[in-house]
Amino acid sequence: MNFTPVTAPSGASVTDTSNSGEIRLVDLTKKFGDTHAVKDINLTIPHGSYCCLLGPSGCGKTTILRMIAGHEAPTSGEITIGGTSVLGLPPVQRGTAMMFQSYALFPHLSIRDNVAFYLKMRGVGRDERRKRADEMLERVQLAHLRDRMPAQLSGGQQQRVALARSLITNPRVLLLDEPLSALDEFLRLQMRVELKTLQAELGITFVHVTHTQPEAIALADMVVVMDTGRIDQAARARDIYNSPATPYVARFMGAQNVLTGKVESIEGGIAKLKSARGETFELAPQKAAPAVGDDLSFSVRRDYITIHKRADAETQTATNSVLGTVDSIEYQGNFVKVSLQVPGLDTFVANVPDHDYFIEPIGPGDAVTASWDKKHAHVLDRVDTGASEPYAAH
């Protein structure tokens, strides 16, 4: 798609002068009855960035999106776009446009009239309206279908119409609610690329809600990982992936193993931990030095784990390793996913490179030692409470 920013329609009253799409959420809270859908959220989404709100269903990500859009009023807190408060303003004055999960195309209007709806609401004359709607449809390569009704289009086409209808309002912020979830795998990957390209071309802020980790990682400049009603971590995709802040994020992003121990000693900046099961772990020097006696959780990426077969009798573990039994083997193409049963841990996974695995193949039931280098152990901000995360990617 070849998008260029559209000039503001004539007669449009633009309320803000900055036209910046920077979004700030300050102490934002939303209660439905007695339950907090969202609690004390603080977040700044820079102008022109692609931000993904990521989390399992029910975590409050859609509520945040709807509050930014003006379809839901916050219970307390502040929302500013481009430095001015937008609370109480209708969507058009906020400069936001929303793309709905169901696309919400008006079933009784043709494609062209759907796209022209905004212009009709502004009192633009019919010929002018049609001309501009047709231009917009040209951009999404659907001009030839302009007289069709929405029900006659495929899912992918409907989505392009929804996009065209959102963009004709010339927004500074585009809000996308699970925009790819209704598409099949092939179209999803294709649309993903198109969305990213589009955002770069338009240079406006995109806020994209999703529950799919790879989607967020692939698209976002900034990933916001949410747990029930709060933000666990908001950072660049690579940071979220490599340095998760909490056990929840580590598990939810899926690429990490989470371990916990009590600090026994600190020598030369290196903390020695002992786990409840008696294993010993080492942690490289950290920003904030832990104190002896503290409980600490850390994560190790799955692809930094090495696995060796061991004799059944071998029950002593070396430092920075755990003992386990192979539970299952999944071949993934360029690596092999080896799931271990480690007593006392919910999951422990090693992603073994394809060629390494086939040098010394192992199978379910084999006793193994899993070990890692201490430099790959990343300390988490919070101690793991062991809550398993049903939505975690595997």
């Binding site: 859009a69 003006g70 379809h71 209708p90 969507p91 058009v92 936001t96 446009a97 929303m98 709905f100 999960q101 169901s102 919400a104 195309l105 008006f106 079933p107 009784h108 709806f117 905004y118 009709k120 609401m121 502004r122 209808r165 959102s166 309002t169």
Partner: protein, 287 residues
Amino acid sequence: MNSRSSALPYIQVSPLALVLILFFSIPVALVLLVSFFRYQMLVGIVPDFTFKNYADILTNRTNWMLYWSTIKFALIVLAITGFIGFWISYFLVFHVRNLVTAIALFLVCTVPFWTSNIIRMISWRPVLGREGVINQALVGSGLTDQPVEWLLYSDFAVVIAYVHLFTLFMIVPIFNSMARIDKSLLEAAVDAGASRWGVIWNVVLPLSKTGIALGTLFVVTLVMGDFSVVTVMSGGLSGSAASAIFNDLQFLNYPRAAANAVILLIVVLLIASAIFRLVDVRKELVR
């Protein structure tokens, strides 16, 4: 499952078809037949093929007046019930947030539907009558010196009773089609800068079209076919197309009653087919 047994649907619908043919199609056909028969005083019905009954009816100015009056009632009642039906449904679907409350209020609106029409009609007597509740209040508060006479036994009373009896037929279908509107369509319209009225006019109203059409079908045909409400509530002052049939029957003039019935049926079916042409009601119902 079509392939499993193609006779099955025929077996399943045959009782319905049987009842409708026996008690609807054949009777209607016979009414058509009898409408060409001759009526002879003291003898009764004489088989014949004459257009005299139709000629009598169509040349009689009173009949035209009755149709005109019925159509007038139908249009007035349609306007009022349509207005109430649309806004009550709108309120229940888009304003009441709690689903249980919405269902409860919907039931409150529909329960009278399942009680006797005649009783509900009569129940206006102690309210609208000369010594009724409203007149007592008006005289008691000194707003009027005399009781207002035109409240009962008047066209006003007829309209009140029709609205009382038939608004439910408007609310139910409109509610049904409104409840199916995806709420995000309204939000999308607001996103595009539509005002509250803009949303109602451009989104809610067009998407409630089928419900409005179905409600119109019910209300218009019910008013067109009524004779009891207009007789009782106007105190015999007004009539309807159906009351012409009623009168013929009092004189046992079956052929003319039949001819009248055929004309009324044609008018009603024409209205219905016009509505069906406007919206594909069947597609909406069967989906």
